[in-house]
Each structure stands twice: as C-alpha cells, then as structure tokens.
C-alpha cells in the first residue's frame, strides 16, 4: 500500500499531562501496527506539524483522531472543533477528555484563586502580581494568548464525540485491543461499535474484578490508607474503613490498585449506567456506615477528609454540577 492510500490517523492533546501519549507508546510493538496501517498526519508529541496544515486538510479526511485532554482554553476548544471537522471518528481518549480528570478538579476553585495559586505561589517571584492577559499591546502590535475559561469542560461538552476510551491513562492492553479493532474495521473484518459507546473498558465495576474477600461492610471509622500501620492484604479495603472507589468505578483495568495494596481512586470513571459518579459513591459509602446516630455519623464522616476530592477526583467536570458555585461565577 502506498503511504497516501493508508487511512489517516491523528492524536491531539489539550489540557492534559502527556500520560495518555506515553500510554499509547507503551503499547510497545503494537505501535508498529499503527504505523503499518495508518498514515500519521498530526501528532504534536511525536512529529512536527502545524495547526494550519490540519486546517488545510479536506474535511473528514482523517479516519481516526484520538483526542486527549480537557477543554481549558480557547485554543483547546478551537482544536476540538478543528479535529471534529477533519475526522470521521473522534475519540475522547483518556479521563481528561472523557470526564475532566485532575485538570477538571480545578473546577472547585474560581479563576482568580487558580491564577493566584499559579502566579503568586510562595516559590514564584511576581511582585507586580502580573497575570496573563488574552491581549497585550506591545510596540510591534498586539500579542494574543488563548483565553482561559473559568470552568474546564470535557470534550463532549464542546463537540460531538463518537467513542470514549476511559482511564488515567488507558491501560496499554486496552489500547492495543482498540487498535486491533480499528484495523479490523478498516480491513472490513469487523463493524464499529454503536456511536457513543465506551470502548477499551468493561461495563461493570472495579469491585467485580477485585479478588479481595468481601464479607459484611459495617464501618465505624474511615482512615486514609497512609495513616494505617497494618492493612489486611486479602480483605476488601472498604471493609477495613479505607475509602475505596471500586463500587462506582468502571471495570477494565483489572482492579490494578486494590491488587497492589492501594485503594481504587476511580481513574476509569463511572461504571455503565451511573449518571453521577460521586452520587453513586455517596450512596455506597453512606450505606456501609454502621451507625444510626447523627453525632456518631458525623464523627465517622470526619474520616473522609475531602469528600468532593474523594468522590470527584476524576469526574468533577462531567458531574451533574460540573463546577463549584464560585467557579461558575468567575470570569
């Protein structure tokens, strides 16, 4: 096959950490299959290409775009629209694009507080309290940088998305399976899943994949795992009072964290059918607290030091409320 006859592939990063790109490269030799079957036309982390090159491509000329990262700035939004326009299949790749992830946790704070933290932290010398401005006049003309939205959005809050691949980052074996599937589709050997499907993950919960033993959960005290001297290696962590997000989190990782001795923090996002991830966890945690006395319940809940962080670590931007009141009100 000549290079130009191969279907085109792109990958883009918006507000993200770069881990999703590493996860793709971490598929080892599978990445050669991508190269053998696709022409990579745009992938800023791996090759040099300009936005204007993409802009010049015919609409829908890219078969598959993996888009990772949340929509934090006008530049992110503009690229989301551009990649949507140029791609036949646009995939929200990884937790940031699917649900906001860690960058979305900034939605707890207003823009002013975020900028204060970043541009006036104790380690920053900024005596004039300079803040980035979308436009700055200089003798040569006007300098422009992207505008920072007060509330981070997920990809599908900005453009139409065809598929979702969850995970922070998606597990390499799951990415490989998706790559195989797309190649089979290209070769006419398989059909695409229904639009809007979550691919590269299970439908059930992390608990379902977790080998830890479960009995009856009756919790008198929540304790963060780092504060415990002894953790039973075989017993369900939640049963031991360790806040574990397994009950609401989508399966697909193989329950990696609980198997390695750590609680699930929810990086695969909500399990199928869950509308609000945090609400599902609140239900789960409140159900297992062993008390009927309001004061005692409050004392037990004190063990959950940061409920919003616990329940929405990866999911705030796609939760029903999406952002705190002050974030919504900031400009």
């Amino acid at each position: 096959m000549s290079a130009s006859a191969k279907p085109k592939f792109a990958m883009y990063w918006a507000a993200s950490c770069g881990g999703c790109e590493i996860a793709v490269l971490n598929t080892h030799e599978k990445i050669l299959d991508v190269d053998a079957n696709f022409e990579v036309v745009f992938w800023p982390v791996a090759m040099d290409a300009k936005y204007k090159d993409v802009e010049a491509m015919p609409d829908r000329s890219i078969l598959l775009t993996l888009f990772n990262g949340g929509i934090r700035t006008t530049e992110n939004a503009e690229l989301a629209h551009l990649m949507r326009q140029k791609s036949q299949i646009l995939v929200a790749f990884g937790s940031c694009a699917c649900e906001g992830c860690i960058p979305g946790l900034a939605n707890l704070s207003n823009k002013q507080a975020l900028f204060d933290t970043v541009y006036n932290s104790p380690s920053t010398t900024n005596s004039q309290e300079t803040r980035p401005q979308p436009e700055t006049a200089v003798p040569e003309g006007t300098l422009k940088i992207p505008y920072f939205y007060p509330v981070l959005k997920t990809l599908d809050q900005v453009v139409d998305v065809d598929y979702y691949i969850p995970g922070c980052p998606p597990e390499s074996h799951q990415i490989s399976a998706v790559i195989d599937l797309v190649i089979q589709v290209v070769q006419g050997k398989a059909l695409l899943p229904a639009k809007g499907a979550t691919i590269g993950a299970g439908e059930s919960t992390v608990c379902d994949e977790c080998p830890r033993q479960r009995n009856i959960k009756a919790i008198k005290k929540f304790t963060r795992i780092q504060e415990l001297k002894v953790v039973d290696p075989a017993l369900c962590l939640l049963e031991q009072g360790i806040p574990c997000n397994g009950p609401a989190t989508r399966s697909g990782c193989g329950a990696l964290c609980p198997q390695a001795g750590a609680q699930c923090i929810g990086c695969y996002g909500p399990a199928a059918g869950v509308i609000d991830y945090g609400a599902r966890l609140m239900t789960a945690f409140a159900s297992v607290i062993d008390s009927t006395d309001p004061q005692e319940i409050d004392a037990i809940l004190d063990g959950l030091v940061d409920p919003a962080g616990q329940f929405y670590r990866f999911n705030l931007a796609s939760s029903l409320l999406r952002a705190s009141r002050s974030a919504w009100k900031s400009q």
Binding site: K52, I71, L108, V158, T283, I289, S291, P307
Partner: protein
Amino acid sequence: MNTDTFEPVIIGFTCNWCSYRAADLAGTARVKYPPNVRLIRMMCSGRLDPTFVLKAIAGGADGILITGCHPGECHYLEQNYKALRRFQLLRRTLAQMGIRPERLKLVWASAAEGVKLAEEITCFIEEIRALGPLDWPALTGERIPVASGFISAEEGGR
C-alpha cells in the same frame, strides 16, 4: 434575579408511608403551605439517591427537602437511617461545591403530622428565601463559543 420577587423553588422528596400522607392530610385538613415546594413521592426515604438532589440543583432548585418516617418507624425497618447518612454526607460535599448546607433539609414526619409538615415546609421556604437564589447555570445542550485565531496565529503560521 430580583430578590424582591424571588420565589424559591423547592423540590421535596417524600416517603409514601409517612410524609407524603402527611402532606395529603394537610391538604384534606385545609392546612395551608406555600406552593413553592414540588413534592415527589418515593416508596421510602431510603430510595433517595444523591443523584436526585444533584439533578434538582443542576435543574434550578434553590432548596431540597427530604422527608421520611421518624427513626425506628421506617416501613422497611432501617432505610430512613440510610437517608440520614446520605443527607449528612451530601451536605458536606455540597459545602465544598459552594452550596450552603442549609439548602438541604431533612424532616421526619409521620402520616399523622400534616400540620407539622406544613409548618416545616413554610419555615424552610422562608430560610431559602433568606439565602437567595441558587441559580445553578443551566447546563443542557450548551456548547461553548470558540473565540479565535490561534490556528492562523501560531508560531510559524501565516
């Protein structure tokens, strides 16, 4: 919104066996309470999924009322305690989202307590009126505008 004309919207989740009947009793006894509250009947306060509360807020409610049978009197034995624990946990989470915990209220009312429920509702409406509108941004169907020119303005661009 002009606070002079602010009429709070309250969503009330009521239990079929006690508080919903209490509200019914208030009606038959012609005990009045303001029309700001929209009552939704559930089979039990234990059916209260925090999702309902968040959905109500995201949909524009200013306050949420949860009502159930008195402790020890749940038709399904212990489910009202689950509602209690969810309520206490929800209040903490909402506080971190910048929502005053007082906007979420839990009231126990038996089927005989029509007058008490009407009083509690009236009092809650006034508490919410004093707090003012919550006004959660309407979220459905919105797409953000893209300002622009970063494609053409990029380094090395035209």
